[in-house]
């Protein structure tokens, strides 16, 4: 790891004042479960690290009811999501997704904000070939081993997959994030927070170098909505998924009134599939309709060479999430 300046501000204002103007100047340190490995591997080399965990006040640390929704502070640990009654009872899909992420040790350290802002696991990125994995102007991903890369939104030059297995559930619930800087705050729909970078200088989120993510706000869950989150994972636990899907179904008697289908680990951003949602609208949930929604979700998917199997997995993830949701969220 390279030498860096370390700051541990106690106040929000102080913290924001310490952030830099461009990437490379500063990084925010939360749980450190991702950032420290990036720094040890020389992938991210900030001049200053701003540890925000000591910032006082409930804003960053608490889960709070707000109107009919809920606000989750950026520093809430993943381990605390499933045990919070507000989350478990009203946003069970989020509780499930959090429970399935990483390992207990990591969930005890990892934070909500860090989970959203964590960097892609693309092995070219992590081996020092840049976020886009290029060498001499050529994409190593396209030329090389892309078995875990994107099947949607993969027109290039970004081919990595968005890493969080929790974010798709947040997006399905309609989450917004609050981004604060020394000059004010802005609120962005989580879905819009993720962007596909076009060059090596861009990041994969709409976070500016001088901003801190402070809150995640969830609106009240639609009454009677059926939800489920499904991960296709090779190992039983503690494994990066190959494809995930968060499904939220608003029902009208026996048929789906409207659906939110958000896929993970299939594209450089969490992938909201309007095609799958439309395929379900007005239909009862059956093996056939769910499979048709899965098919619609991957209709535009394309293999990069070695990841064609992920198209099948994504389709299955969508189908199974919908079927599970209809059954009340249990497998």
């Amino acid at each position: 790891m390279r030498a860096f300046e370390y700051a541990a501000p106690k106040e929000r204002r102080q913290a924001l004042g310490l952030l830099g103007r461009s990437w490379g100047d500063t990084e925010i340190l939360a749980g450190g479960t991702d950032l420290l490995s990036l720094m040890k591997d020389d992938i991210v080399t900030p001049k200053r690290l701003v540890n925000i965990k000591g910032v006082a006040g409930p804003e960053l640390h608490a889960i709070m009811r707000k109107q009919n929704g809920v606000q989750i502070g950026a520093l809430v640990h993943l381990a605390d999501l499933p045990s919070a009654s507000d989350i478990r009872e009203r946003y069970p899909m989020l509780a499930d997704a959090a429970m399935e992420a990483a390992s207990p040790q990591i969930r005890n350290m990892a934070t909500m904000g860090g989970n959203i802002c964590q960097r892609p696991r693309c092995w070219y990125f992590r081996n020092g070939f840049g976020l886009l994995g290029q060498k001499d102007g050529k994409s190593l991903v396209m030329e090389g081993d892309n078995r875990y890369h994107a099947i949607l939104g993969n027109e290039g030059p970004a081919y990595f997959v968005s890493p969080s297995s929790i974010v798709p559930s947040l997006i399905a619930y309609g989450a917004k994030v609050t981004l604060a800087s020394a000059s004010g705050t802005r609120e962005v729909a989580l879905e819009k927070f993720f962007v596909i970078p076009k060059d090596e200088n861009q990041r994969e989120h709409d976070l500016r170098p001088d901003e801190m993510l402070t809150l995640v706000t969830l609106p009240a869950p639609p009454a009677g909505a059926k939800v489920a989150h499904y991960e296709v994972r090779q190992k039983a636990a503690f494994d990066w998924p190959l494809a995930t899907c968060a499904a939220l179904l608003e029902m009208n008697g026996g048929t789906v009134k409207s659906a939110r289908i958000v896929m993970g680990h299939v594209a450089p951003i969490p992938w909201v599939s309007n095609e799958a949602a439309q395929a379900m609208a007005g239909k009862p949930v059956t093996e056939e309709t769910a499979d048709a929604a899965g098919a619609a979700a991957v209709a535009n998917a394309k293999s990069l060479g070695r990841n064609g199997y992920k198209i099948k997995l994504a389709r299955v993830a969508v189908k199974r999430a919908i079927l599970m949701a209809a059954k009340g969220g249990q497998a």
């Binding site: 390279r2 696991r121 296709v232 494994d239 070695r306 299955v316």
Partner: protein, 798 residues
């Protein structure tokens, strides 16, 4: 007394063959056990290593001048320096290039960044899965890497000697090299062949095809064997390169207490051979030190699995760093990425197999075209066909040289890969005959070496019952109709396992205390426990009363822990030492008991006259008669009477479920039936098998070293994408050890390798049984399963 050393009969054993917990278990689980990593002497300097970013490149120049002046830097050592000044060519990414020692880790790393290296990047080749096409190498002159690869992967002795004789070597064989081979216990005929091999220095620089034919043999008449068959099957099988993934990385702490003495803590499987290896390596660096002045210590090691026999580059450059830093202790432990890249690789083996049988299930012919890589040196052919020496064989094998981390012996070198290929082909053929593979294996048992036929038949029976295999078996592809399919598979295996050379000092003190000193090591397998069991049973005293000292090269030498040779070696030397020490004690106490030494018995903490327990002394009373000088004897293996043996069987069965929509395989249950002669500790023996099953599930489903074709670097050099089985992936496991009559009298035989051989093959066969189609390569990942299902569908439609 012709059989005074013989293992005690069952009714005379207090410990041997019972279920005894590891004596060092509590130390390990409570964190008190110290590993190389935990050794932090005062004034410790931290080493860091600059590794090659390129898989193949010539080093034009190295400039360390800036690094040497960096704060905290105490020494810098160029690892890749040819003594003749020739530029060095790196053969795999991650290879050690320059090492630095500094006062802090960060300073050492900063110094690495200040080193300037001019590289001439050369074209690399890392592809091994595809069947070789293109020209083969000419006569295969062996490089040093080739030879080491062939040795560590157990190329059959005859084949190796023949190859050395006809093709020669491309490197100069000097005394040092011969000495090192001796230290590694390389058989003398091979050493002779190396010495006499024609020297072809010109072969070193020849541009070479990566493909080299290393086996081309025909036995019997394969063509007529195929002709006479009723059913023929052709298939593709294989397993990719995997790594050892020891929980404790390789590493060293070295210090020179004075300029003539070196103290080394190293994570190793071979304490006794380290001083010689390190001295040899240092000599090549221009540092002369007698092996006798090097002391190597290691109390605990976090796994080796075959990857820790060599002193390695770090076993030499860390002492060099220390020397250059005035003797201060220097530590280098490999980081996880380096550990995966350079310090462990099991060669890949793939083969297209054609196999045939008569209608009633008798195999008539075998034809295998194999290939695979063990890294830059290519590699040796696996023992095909495995276990079943069927009539009418043709075997061809092409070794593929790749710019990947060199192979090391991996638990049962070559056998797991050979089992995947052979047992897969056999099971496929059985499926074609619509025959339960248990029955098919039985039908062909005559092709198994005679000594083990009955053992396999008995083991098949027991395993069949434990798994309910035959009663639950269904023909291929009939494992259910939904998306989840269930299947059963089996595999059998073999291994040698004779005890290695081992020596110990065995002392009984006048106060009744006992100590044993032996230069062995406990890899976590229970070596300490086994030695104490044997000693305690022989002396008739509790294990706790004996002090055991191992893990120090100043103790009597004992072999490296590899090839399942340790238990046979250490139990035999301990037994002989204990018997001789006990008999010496008997001689001292016989007069006091009014008897003669040959009539005495040591049992239950007492020495008594056989048949008359009233004539007894307690252990302490007896030892008081020793006089002021303790009794010390040497225990040895080999020695009089054979206490160890070689050659085991073993049968394993797997029950799996496959999700045909996702290609995800879940192993439900594994059954292992294993013989290993006389079992010293039933509990650690069972644990050894359980551990092998866990490791087997892991390599069957998850493990794979993935190299990037364009950059030649290992892409999954971490534990996120180099997957290992987790708790949730471990099936129900049942182990049955064959013990008692027919087994005990064989003597002690090693157990570490055999149970690791079959899991991959058994699981692969179970998957084929479940989904109706063979997934050719291990690991059986979702992409491979889906691809196999898809090609099956296409085939069905065509």
């Amino acid at each position: 007394m012709a059989d005074k050393y013989a293992w005690p009969a069952e009714n005379e054993r207090a410990y041997i063959g019972k279920r005894i917990s590891r004596v060092d278990g509590p130390f390990k689980v409570s964190g008190r056990a110290k590993y190389t990593y935990d050794y932090n002497p005062k004034g410790l300097l931290y080493g860091a290593v600059l590794r090659s970013p390129y898989p193949k490149a010539r080093i034009v120049s190295i400039d360390t001048s800036a690094a040497e002046k960096m704060p905290g830097v105490k020494s810098v050592h160029i690892v890749q320096k040819d003594p003749t000044g020739k530029p060095v060519t790196i053969q795999f990414a991650g290879d050690d290039v320059v090492a630095v020692a500094a006062q802090t880790e960060d300073q050492a790393e900063d110094a690495l960044r200040a080193i300037k290296i001019q590289w001439e990047v050369l074209p690399h080749f890392v592809q091994d899965e595809k069947e070789p096409s293109g020209p083969l190498q000419g006569p295969t002159v062996m490089s040093q890497d080739d030879l080491v690869g062939a040795l560590s992967n157990q190329m059959p002795q005859g084949q190796l000697i023949q190859q050395l004789k006809t093709n020669g070597v491309s490197f100069k064989v000097d005394d040092e090299f011969i000495k090192q081979m001796k230290q590694f216990n390389i058989p003398q005929p091979i050493i002779d062949a190396v010495q006499q091999a024609p020297y072809h220095p010109e072969a070193q620089n020849q541009p070479q095809s990566p493909y080299k034919e290393v086996r081309n043999e025909t036995k019997g008449d394969p063509d007529s064997g195929f002709k006479s068959a009723d059913v023929t099957h052709e298939g593709l099988y294989g397993s990719t390169v995997i790594t050892h993934c020891c929980m404790e990385a390789h590493g060293v702490v070295a210090e020179w207490p004075d300029p003539d003495h070196l103290l080394v803590h190293i994570s190793t499987q071979s304490v006794s051979s380290m001083p010689g290896q390190i001295a040899g390596g240092l000599k090549a660096q221009g540092v002369n030190i007698d092996a006798a002045n090097i002391r190597v210590e290691q109390q605990n090691v976090g796994g080796g699995f075959g990857s820790k026999f060599s002193a390695d580059r770090w076993g030499v450059y860390v002492p060099m760093l220390s020397k250059k830093a005035g003797g201060a202790p220097v530590k280098v432990m490999l980081e996880r990425d380096a550990e995966l890249e350079v310090a462990g690789a099991r060669p890949s083996h793939y083969a297209r197999v054609k196999i045939a049988a008569t209608r009633d299930g008798k195999i008539t012919a075998w034809d295998a075209n194999g290939w695979g890589t063990g890294g830059p040196g290519g590699g040796a052919a696996p023992p095909l066909p495995y276990v079943f020496d069927v009539p009418n064989q043709r075997n061809r094998y092409i070794s593929v040289s790749t710019n990947t981390g060199p192979s090391r012996a991996w638990r049962a070198p070559q056998h797991p890969q050979a089992a995947v290929i052979t047992m897969g082909a056999l099971e496929d053929l059985a499926a074609k005959l619509n025959m339960n593979p248990v029955e098919f294996f039985r039908k062909n048992i005559e092709y198994v070496t005679e000594a083990r036929r009955q053992i396999y038949l008995d083991e098949l029976d027991i395993a069949d019952k434990m798994m309910n295999f035959s009663s639950r078996w269904h023909p291929r592809g009939q494992g259910g109709s939904g998306m989840m399919r269930q299947g059963l598979g089996l595999s059998i295996h073999t291994w040698g396992g004779r005890g290695h050379n081992s020596n110990c000092d065995f002392t009984i003190h006048p106060d009744g205390s006992v100590d044993i000193k032996m230069g062995t090591q406990d890899l976590g397998t229970g070596t300490r426990t086994a030695i104490l069991i044997v000693a305690a049973d022989t002396l008739g005293i509790p294990m706790e009363q004996i002090n055991l000292h191992i893990g120090d090269s100043s103790y009597p030498t004992s072999g490296g822990s590899g090839g399942s040779t340790t238990i046979g070696g250490v139990s035999s030397s301990t037994r002989r030492g204990a018997v001789d020490a006990r008999d010496a004690l008997f001689a001292k106490v016989a007069p006091a008991l009014g008897s003669t030494p040959d009539k005495l018995v040591a049992r239950n903490g007492k020495i008594f006259v056989e048949g008359d327990e009233s004539k007894a002394l307690t252990w302490k009373q007896a030892c008081a008669k020793i006089g002021p000088m303790p009794i010390t004897v040497q225990g040895k293996n080999p020695g009089p009477e054979n206490l160890t043996n070689s050659g085991v069987g073993g049968v394993q069965m797997a029950d799996v479920s496959v999700d045909t929509e996702t290609g995800i395989v879940k192993v439900n249950k594994m059954v292992a039936v294993q013989d290993c002669g006389l079992v010293i500790d039933l509990k650690t023996a069972e644990s050894q098998v359980l551990g092998a099953l866990v490791m087997g599930v892991s390599y069957a489903l998850f493990e794979e070293k993935i190299y990037d074709p364009s950059t030649g670097v290992m892409l999954n050099d971490n534990m996120e994408f180099y997957r290992l089985a987790g708790l949730g992936d471990i099936p129900e496991m049942q182990v049955h050890m064959m013990t008692g009559k027919g087994y005990d009298e064989r003597g002690v035989i090693g157990l570490a390798e055999p149970p690791t051989v079959s899991p991959g093959a058994a699981i692969s066969n179970a998957v084929a049984n479940a989904i109706g189609v063979r997934v050719p390569y291990l690991p059986i990942t979702p992409d491979r399963v889906l691809q196999a299902l898809e090609s099956e569908e296409k085939g069905a439609r065509a």
